[in-house]
């Protein structure tokens, strides 16, 4: 169980920290979008160009990881409060962990492929 590997307070420290750091990265992201102009930033070529800029790709990857970790842990906490029981709690914990890893893997694949010009 995740909770037996990590104390709940350690998980919550990660939860709060990922939220705070993600806010910082989201601010950078919004500022870049505002600088370019909103409608221009939605153009296909401009979207792809974002991934080809390594610093910006790093920002996107960081946002993906931070928001996934924070979001899936939040979901886990909500689901654990709705229903209790060992089997259910383990399923929720491992399910959220697996979904988080899957989302990060899929998102990272997209970022890497786009930055390497494979899209």
């Amino acid at each position: 169980m995740m909770s037996s590997i990590m104390r709940e307070s350690h998980i919550m420290k990660i939860h709060y920290l990922t939220a705070l750091v993600a806010v910082g990265f989201v601010i950078i992201h919004i500022m870049v979008r505002v600088m370019q102009g909103f409608s221009d930033s939605l153009e296909f070529e401009n979207v792809i160009a974002n991934y080809k800029s390594i610093p910006y790709a790093v920002v996107l990857e960081a946002m993906l990881i931070l928001i996934s970790v924070h979001g899936f842990n939040g979901l886990r906490v909500i689901l654990l409060e709705l229903k209790q029981g060992n089997a259910y709690e383990n399923a929720v914990t491992y399910g959220c962990l697996a979904a988080m890893i899957a989302l990060i893997a899929y998102g990272s694949r997209t970022i890497i492929m786009a930055s390497m010009g494979m899209v």
């Binding site: 909770s3 104390r7 709940e8 307070s9 919550m12 420290k13 709060y16 906490v77 654990l80 409060e81 709705l82 209790q84 709690e89």
Partner: protein, 266 residues
């Protein structure tokens, strides 16, 4: 105006010529309320019903007095738990007009309503009518080790009493006022959904002992509350602190406990 100072309405001091040292009986009040009492026996009934009674009241009549009036003269079968009648024992917690309160500590005249509805507390298993089971609350209370933990004691040789400064006492004294009435647990939204949550009562008591500088069981208690259904389940709605009849602030205690666990409080 009565002679010799204010007396409750309905009392009259005997005249000087009257040698008998007794007051006249309280006159029956003309004021009445409709008392709606939730009636439900889980072993027999399918759904709760409300019984309505017209009850006379005075300025000082409490909701518990009104319930006992009904129990004495209208329906003996009403299930209600009470004991001290002075907000000390914590037995008569119930939902009064939608809010968790002690029946002995709530005056009808303060409710500003002609209809007073009493129901059993939320988040507790119902025994019958207004009586709920306290097993879960007592077991979580025991779980957090509600006593001073330390190697030596005041009766060990070489030790006398463990002195505390007023500042030391100030850190925990409000939490020591808990009477285990369960109103905070009844008001807690997390308790409503999470059947294994420790609850504001247990968490506030954990803080009460951790903040006591005579205690050495901090790490032990922090381990107990630092689990899935422990302190992190609190959403900080603050309703526990709003309903406490003794002025305890469990929500604050929970935030202070989180400070220990997150490392910004030693």
């Amino acid at each position: 105006m009565t002679k010799g100072g204010a007396l409750p309405k309905g009392f009259e001091r005997p005249s000087d010529s009257d040698s008998q040292e007794k007051y006249e009986e309280v006159k029956p009040s003309s004021k009445t309320i409709t008392l709606r009492i939730s009636k439900f026996n889980p072993e027999k009934d399918h759904t709760p019903t409300f019984l309505e009674f017209t009850v006379p009241y005075q300025r000082w009549t409490t909701v518990l007095d009104a319930i006992l009036e009904v129990k004495s003269y209208h329906d003996h079968s009403i299930g209600v738990r009470y004991s001290c009648r002075q907000a000390t024992c914590g037995s008569c917690g119930m939902i009064i007009n939608g809010k968790p309160k002690l029946a002995c500590f709530t005056k009808i005249s303060e409710l500003n309503s002609n209809v007073v509805t009493v129901e059993p507390m939320n988040n507790f298993p119902l025994i019958r009518d207004l009586t709920v089971g306290f097993e879960r609350m007592i077991s979580t209370h025991k779980r957090i080790k509600p006593y001073i933990i330390r190697e030596d004691s005041e009766i060990s040789s070489g030790t006398k009493e463990f002195l505390q400064t007023p500042e030391d006492v100030e850190k925990y004294i409000q939490f020591a006022g808990c009477i285990k009435c369960g109103l905070c647990n009844s008001a807690c939204p997390t308790m409503a959904t999470d059947s294994t949550f420790i609850g504001p009562q247990g968490l506030a008591q954990a803080y009460r002992y951790i903040a006591d500088n005579r205690d050495q069981g901090k790490d032990e208690r922090l381990r107990i509350i630092d689990e899935r259904h422990g302190i992190w389940g609190c959403h900080f709605s603050g309703s526990c602190s709003q309903v406490c009849p003794k002025g305890v602030d469990p929500a604050m205690g929970i935030q202070l406990l989180r400070g220990y666990l997150l490392g910004y409080k030693k």
